[in-house]
Symmetry: D3
Subunit: 301 residues, 6 copies
């Protein structure tokens, strides 16, 4: 096959350069290219942290007790060093965005150190999630299998790690981590969401949980549930107000069935059951049992 064709590369390169120069991208930063965290590197980091948290099941199979700590220590070190570089990139990028004086190396290190100290707590929380998945799904035969094949567990490993990073001040890295889970599970949980222990999402595709959502203990969700904002507040200049509480509070022991849409800063009282496809924009008291008004189905002869 003769592939000697000319594609007009010179013109293309020039046109693309002109666009870059005009666009927001380069307005203030010729020769100061933004160096964003790397999606690929974060994928590796999450694999490393998952392996360190659950060495035998997500790390290396067949680790004997003799060597498990060496594996954990070594895997943690690699993952934390790589995470440090990604966090450094975010801090540097944000500082440039804000024309802030360059952050010191100290900040990235402090964040990694504080993050690392939370890993045991993250592991404990994930153990409760695993147990909840095992107990909540009649198809699960052992807790172990939920760890290797339930998308809900995979999503929570990402979110619980990302949530700590979000709280420590690196929201972009955190968001990129939850997007990794979104991409592979279809479950979209914002890293800002606060989620209690023993949380279980079954099937999961299409679940959306917003930034300021608060979820209690022992909550169970099914696929396509939305915990979203009702509407966005606008400032006087028409721009969106960012950061205010705008997503639901879900108290302990609530179950929300597939396709339910719950919007706004409302409270779902403890122990409530929200039926499938329900559309809910107001608070409900504890122990409520909300179902969709039955739709009459018409038989057409």
């Amino acid at each position: 096959m003769n592939t000697q064709a000319n594609w007009g590369i010179h013109t293309l390169v020039k046109e693309l350069r002109d666009i870059r120069v005009q666009s927001l991208e380069t307005r203030e930063r010729l020769n100061k290219p933004p160096k964003l965290p790397s999606r690929k590197k974060l994928t590796q980091i999450l694999e490393g942290l998952s392996g360190a948290l659950f060495p035998n099941r997500l790390g290396r199979p067949d680790l004997r007790d003799e060597v498990i700590d060496y594996f954990v220590g070594n895997t943690l070190d690699t993952a934390l060093r790589d995470l440090h570089e990604q966090i450094h990139r975010e801090l540097h990028f944000m500082a440039e965005q804000k024309n802030v004086v360059q952050l010191t190396e100290y900040d990235a290190k402090t964040i990694v150190r504080k993050f690392a100290a939370q890993l045991p707590r993250i592991r404990k929380l994930l153990d409760t999630d695993i147990q909840a998945a095992y107990q909540g799904d009649p198809a699960a035969r052992t807790p172990d299998e939920t760890l290797v094949c339930y998308p809900g567990i995979n999503a929570m490993i990402h979110q619980r790690i990302a949530h700590v990073l979000y709280q420590l001040g690196v929201p972009l890295t955190a968001r990129m981590i939850t997007e990794l889970a979104h991409s592979s599970t279809g479950i979209d949980i914002h890293p800002g969401a606060e989620i209690g222990e023993s949380f279980f999402i079954d099937h999961g595709t299409g679940v959306v949980i917003g930034e300021t959502t608060v979820i209690g203990n022992r909550v169970r969700l099914y696929q396509a549930v939305t915990l979203g904002a009702k509407r966005f507040e606008q400032a006087d200049d028409g721009s969106l107000v960012k950061g205010n509480a705008r997503h639901p509070i879900v108290e302990d022991d609530v179950v929300i069935y597939a396709g339910a849409t719950i919007l706004g800063r409302i409270t779902i009282g403890r122990g409530s059951v929200i039926g499938g496809n329900v559309w809910l924009t107001h608070s409900v008291p504890p122990e409520s049992n909300i179902t969709q008004a039955l739709l009459r189905s018409e038989l057409i002869p």
Copy 2:
């Protein structure tokens, strides 16, 4: 960049060990690490089996008739040997869970041999699915293209393979295989589901089909359809009753439009059409045409 920071690895390693020792993970199995099937290896196995089933389109391009059988035989051998090891892991893992006497090597081999014997039947079923996709989608130009780009076909390759494994007694391996498809297509079909020929899922994101679902021939589904359980039966001790028939029976020639939710051990009679977003928890007779009660939309001035 100076990366000489200390992350407190010693403390972390110790804390994570303490958690492992206390948790369910290691309670009874210090030095008996569970060796679960490997997601990565199963991905390769499915690529191999897909290539052997459809050598030119999913295997190696440009295979001449002279060599196609060599490719198929060699690819099958690799895939079946690798599958044998994964099945061996599951049987071994399950035996330890149940404190059963160690299974013999014989079992894993028998399962692989029985599975292999089903591959021609799987191929024939998939041919009917491909034909159904081609006929059911006005955008499809050739049957071949449905094989290389329709997520519904991809999901069915995984499910039909996993279903045979599920029936042969390796449900974890089977589940991990359907979860591979779930992750890349958003279509979540349990390996236990029994599905007839000429099955077509269009778009597919958000489809959930439960473990005991039974689907006839020539059924068509759109995105976000749920064939689920209405509620889980509980035993006297409050634990979930596992394994009983709890998902719908969908008879031949049924069409179910996007977003329909069909729950419980009900029967959708042959030839029925279920409209988009319908919520259905009772059986309907053959040739039913169910649509959602029309929702009045209010115009707000």
Copy 3:
């Protein structure tokens, strides 16, 4: 582990051959194996094109102004040469399907050249999408981060590239490209859809946009929105009529909330707001505000 078992490979190979010979696959093409475009190669091509369009953020980090054009030119060349081969495969495959005289090399080259010339326009459109994402989501801190972690932006990079290819006469390559995005984002936009500038999809899982959809400028969509066909027209012989306009027209400045289903060749007038979960099969005038009839939720004590 003794893996010397026999799997019955000879029989399997023979049976699979018999099926291939009987099936549609080989009926007319023994020794003329179809060589379809490669999903793996298209993934690389899209990475290359993304990197050339957004060199610093999706290409190589830390590109100085001195070398950025070298990177862009070199990356474009590789991507376009590889694309040329994929397009050649599709044209060749389609020619064989139709028993058409073999297409000349000239066609594939012309298509690549015309496609390349559209890249600057694609970049400009994507810049408007990025700006729309930044302005439309209160959680976004900078436009840059929408480019590296918003699935809606990722989906639009794929669709805008695929759309140009679709118009140039290689619909299979185009479809395979949008399916790459579908698989990683859960957003399924047909390459045929015509989409204006400043288009933003938030969360996105479950969005389906059909082949003949027309979308204006500054439109915003949330997860699980369907812009689909109401029903497929059938020809007298029962086969589906392909290619006619059957999906909605969405005018400028429309917002469509999560889960809304809009079917058929209807028009959503400029500036309208379609509420969550709305089911809509008729046109609505400009500035309409459609919400679901409020479903009464019954409290069960």
Copy 4:
């Protein structure tokens, strides 16, 4: 680390272009880049051919009798197709060098077909080499181990394959193949050399065997032996005369010890033994036993 430095890329690119334009490289071939065979691809091809010739020991371990032919057939097909492309490149390149009319595709195919037909003969010759290595080295415990770890065997696999290609008219591809062995073994045998059966080179580093060398059966060589040209004939214009017989003929059953240098078109008679470090530029009759004149070593107190 700040890596924003400018390296002066623009100037460099320009200077390198100027040199290319002036140099022999591009004199007549702007836009006709020479496409030479690829060293990396040839490495893979040799791995494939080695695996097909010795499937269990150099191919895939643990191939059962049931599948070995599938492996061989499939591996051969891949290797021969890749080889075909490399040969095509050489023929094309040489045609351009000579301003010859473009060669037809037919030539490359014919060469590959003729080459393939020689593979069984190559295998038989290599079996005699393996047996010779086993019998000739007291350290060898089994014939199999000479195949996996003796550099002399590795070199002969390459040379015997390359020799057939050399005879079929693709000397560059042939030379690149023997250079692969030269690089990994330090044994430099020209593909033109004609070598009989049961040939054994022990240790091998530094062995050089020239283009027109002829070696009989059951010959044994040690490291650093040179079978070279004495001097190069010059044509009247001072250029070297290419292709005439200028290297030794070594008859059957000769042994040549380490470091011996044998130069020119001389004949080493059948059954001769040439001692270590001997320098030999004249023929010797059969059964000769040549040793270096003993060098008196002087003891210095």
Copy 5:
């Protein structure tokens, strides 16, 4: 490029099968394929062991004191487990060769455990070699650089590891390891050779050191030195007698310059200096200074 040619694969596969069946390869082992140690795997194992022995310089750069033991422990575990499998293969292969009853798993484990216990001693010996290289070469600036770029050090890492394995009864694995070094350095030291501390080989290409060689402390060698056998003893039946002492003994503090050839079970007395290109087949007393008889060079006008 049309690559649809037929290569005659069927005939080839059949012919190669016939040869295999007739040849020594399969005579007694249809369906009992020999599973030899893997060169590729041994390469990885040597990288692992080198990294564990010299963690910062051959392992991972920038290991802080906090994590170095985790790296060493984890790397050792991986390398030793992989080595265990290779050793198991050799024992199994050898048992089949000798029609010996299958060896138990116990043997391979014992060998690995005994090997592991020698690693600290190997490290200490290598430290003396590194120091010798630094002191012996005027071009060396630091001991560290000899470790990362001197082929002599690389060869000794391989040989000292292989020697322990050779002594523990796995000579094939040992030989394959020294051949790895032979291939990359041109230095061919048999794993059987016994070598004292502070051993230094400069340049090294072409060095050959035989199986029963014994080398004292502080010996220095240059390129192309051979410590070989004079001739092989033959048994009455003409086969080679294997295993008897047939290579030189080199006592402490000897220096041997480039190209010297020393053959047979002779002794080079302590402190001797052997000049370049010397050919030596008899013992020399301590403190000897052997030089080549000066060759008169003739000037040709």
Copy 6:
């Protein structure tokens, strides 16, 4: 296979730590791990530089004139950035060795910039080497093929690049680069050697050229030639004197045949021919023709 054995890792890790602490390695640098240049990275850098110098033949095949500069610029940038990091490592490492104040980033950048400016000159010199190889070997058909398969050319690409780096003050990086060539060609040229244009080494295995060697124009060498030091000068304290001129000067148009050993700071006069295996330790005037005293070979009947 049960691989649950314990290898005694804890003891091993501890013993290896004790050795490290005692040894020279860590005496002064706990927590200051030396970060040496990386062999693997330098391999990539050399591939990049080779590709930039000879884009079509060692870079990417089939580069059209339209894109060749983009390839060169982009490849150079990557290679130079990576080289910058390796140089930075060496400078940092050396500074620590000497307890020198930390070098500034400026130094590494200056070195890279000066090195880059030499690349056109390196390319021109290599063009003369290629031409010399083509003219010097009767087996060479085109200059191009010497570039892709002659080890002598490969060695000179490495040495000419390394020599510039050696002169710029990074001798360790330079040495590691020539060792890459040594490993793959068996040709060991010190980066310090000064070599004129049109230099050709045929076969090459075993060639050694020392640090202070000076070689004129149009010199030709064969395999196993040594240009070495006669003896090392010792300082009063017995340590070796480093850096003084101790290797031969070879004037223009000299030919040195295989196995010749030339030692000490002697001069081989212009136009001389040194015969094979000659041992030479004194200067010879121009146009000398040195051959080995003919060794009488004794025929043993």
